[in-house]
Symmetry: C2
Subunit: 405 residues, 2 copies
């Protein structure tokens, strides 16, 4: 038997309990592992069957010799940080879905676990059910990864999909997302791109094995997007998604999180609702993409259990990835080349042709005073110079260039 | 040093050589492995640096004690089968990209390798650069997989994309694919769905651990599709792709390979050109998708090298997946429920409403004598009854239902 303790019995924690119970025989048949949740720790009372193994004292998990793996699904920085440290010190490997903690001090825990002959695993902290971390560690380890980008936040993707498909405004889409439980009461972390930022920082850290402080990444959310922006995008055979991305250059790594225009016919265009996706580019393999439910009880729990299985199959063997304490060098995003969706006043029509060449200009029926268009590709700083010469610019949104084009 | 021999120095074989040479230091830094190609076997002469370690005698590879892993990239059933057997008997693990061989006797080789304490690995045999097999073995091992479907052949996807985007006929798109090296001179295996069929058989065998004979799978290619079919699909906000799929039921597994209508807004819709994609559904994780270049020198070579790295990291440990000699029970595809794209004569317009209800009917400008529409969802046999009552049916194409809907 492999004894597991769950720390934090909320949505993900109880999902992990259910997956292990429900798929026990299936996992046993496939892997020979007899997984069993032997303790659960939460500050609130727990009903039913799981209540029988519940405790409010975290020390009970540490003292229990049956517990080999502690699943940390409490979220937040404190006391998750202290508890994770205590778990490792007590000789228990830790599997977590806590992206805030992993983004903040994943590197520290990875090194600590290694020193102690344990593992610290966090597949579920990025992209819920999408096995992206596993893939980076295994399948892509021989690849020279040049860039990655992803739709890494299900809440914002749900909101943008709703705005695009149903023509509703941001505020109404957010309210609906909250009603359905896809957005929290205080949605700041999601809608301002902070959550996506943490996740891309984790991915980049794993790939380049250097620490990235999420606070150093240029981050813009979706709260200033309107349904009109999405209508322009649609008219130009495109849509708008919140992307988190990075690209390696000789000078450093360009990283950013912000809304991007994505053209129809590219794989990220079709990633809708609460789905997430990550594309990774390597010099040899070209572009690959992982797609799946980025959040939710069972997709996330499924990723946690996949880590638990892998750890149980490799006790005592160092299978964690790692990143050093060195800081990654980030470069200015203004050096990046891309196209832009521009909205400006109708009186600029001639000026637009003069500044940006023979671009295709579109009009929305209910906005006779305005025009919209995609620019050719520019470095951001060069584009800004042109944009600032428009007489009545409304706004611009960055455009995503497909890796292959 | 980990000594590798390459058997068959064609496109993929030379790609493997180049990836190992080019990424040597990168792989060493990431994994500590010092990979080296020490022998190459091919019946033709090899120029340059690789020529120095070339031989025409396969026995040289077996006798060389430095060779720990033999990469089989010769393709075809014979003598690849005999050589793979000899390699295992000589104590060398085998990594292959040969889907024909794996589909035919992968299970036999897996069991043989296990008995000998070796591994037989074939990530590159399905989907080129997409790490789908690795994922099934690792990340999805705790999941109850209910269905999978994929665009598994780059040649046909290139042809269909070209027909759809440029409005050319099948024959012209095929000629262009041949000119670009995406299709072989005899394209039968690709365009008739045989290649995709082998790949879905491998995936299903791995997931359900039972043998599937590709010949038992209902398989239809794309050679009878016309640009008119794609125009109807486009008019109905959809496209047509060659899908290979299976779905588990209580009675058995329904498997098939044939062209399917795919609606806009679903992830497979955006998989274009030579790209491949596979979606997998599990009871817990929901739907996930892998996307990437399904063929080509470097994507395939990259997948081979990922297997080589994994084997080198786990010598002596059984890391191969496995499937038994038991045959999988396949059920009749006529039991499956789906919608259909139907083309019929204009005079059937009233009859269509009578038979299929209030469906949306579309017309193509250059075909005044015809109408097209999507039916509601039916079991295939029930649909066929209705379809046969049309007075002048032209053709029908199956429609793909999204897993979640």
């Amino acid at each position: 038997m492999t004894g597991i303790a769950i720390l934090g019995f909320g949505t993900v924690g109880s999902g992990v309990y259910n997956v292990i119970e429900k798929n026990h025989d299936h996992i046993m048949a496939n892997t020979g592992l007899d997984l069993k949740v032997v303790r659960i720790c939460d500050i609130k009372d727990i009903d039913g069957e799981p209540g029988k193994i519940a405790t409010k004292d975290f020390e009970d998990l540490l003292k229990d010799p049956r517990v080999e793996i502690i699943v940390e699904t409490m979220g937040g920085l404190h006391p998750a940080r202290e508890f994770s440290e205590m778990a490792l010190d007590a000789g228990k490997s830790v599997v977590t879905s806590n992206k805030e903690l992993v983004a903040d001090c994943g590197g520290v825990f990875l090194r600590k676990a290694k020193e102690l002959g344990l593992n610290y695993m966090f597949e579920a902290s990025v992209g819920g059910g999408i096995p992206v971390i596993r893939s980076i560690m295994n399948s892509l380890v021989g690849e020279d990864i040049t860039s990655a980008k992803g739709i890494l936040n299900g809440t914002t993707n749900y909101i943008l999909t709703k705005m695009s498909e149903e023509g509703v405004e941001y505020k109404d889409a957010l309210t609906e997302a909250q009603r359905l439980g896809y957005a929290e009461k205080d949605p700041t972390d999601d809608v301002e791109g902070i959550d996506a930022c943490r996740k891309i920082a984790i991915i980049a850290s794993l790939i380049y094995q250097k620490a990235v402080d999420p606070e150093d990444i240029y981050t813009e959310g979706i709260s200033s997007l309107t349904k009109t922006d999405l209508e322009y995008a649609s008219k130009l055979k495109a849509t708008i998604k919140l992307l988190a991305k990075f690209r390696k250059t000789d000078e450093g790594v360009a990283m950013m999180v912000c809304p991007f225009v994505i053209k129809r016919g590219t794989p990220l265009y079709g990633v809708n609702g609460v789905y997430n996706a990550v594309t990774v580019n390597g010099t040899m393999m070209g572009e690959i993409m992982y797609y799946g439910k980025g959040a939710g009880m069972y997709p996330t729990a499924s990723a946690v259990v996949a880590d638990v299985i892998r750890e149980a199959q490799h006790f005592g063997k160092d299978i964690s990835p790692g990143w050093t304490a060195d800081k990654m060098k980030l470069i200015d995003i203004c050096e990046e080349v891309r196209f832009f969706l521009v909205r400006t006043g109708k009186e600029d029509e001639d000026l637009v042709k003069e500044l940006f060449g023979d671009v295709k200009i579109v009009h929305l029926e209910d906005r006779p005073e305005e025009i919209g268009f995609f620019t050719p590709e520019y470095k951001e700083k060069d584009f800004m110079e042109l944009y600032n010469r428009l007489s009545c610019p409304v706004k611009f949104i960055r455009g995503d260039i497909d890796a292959d084009s």
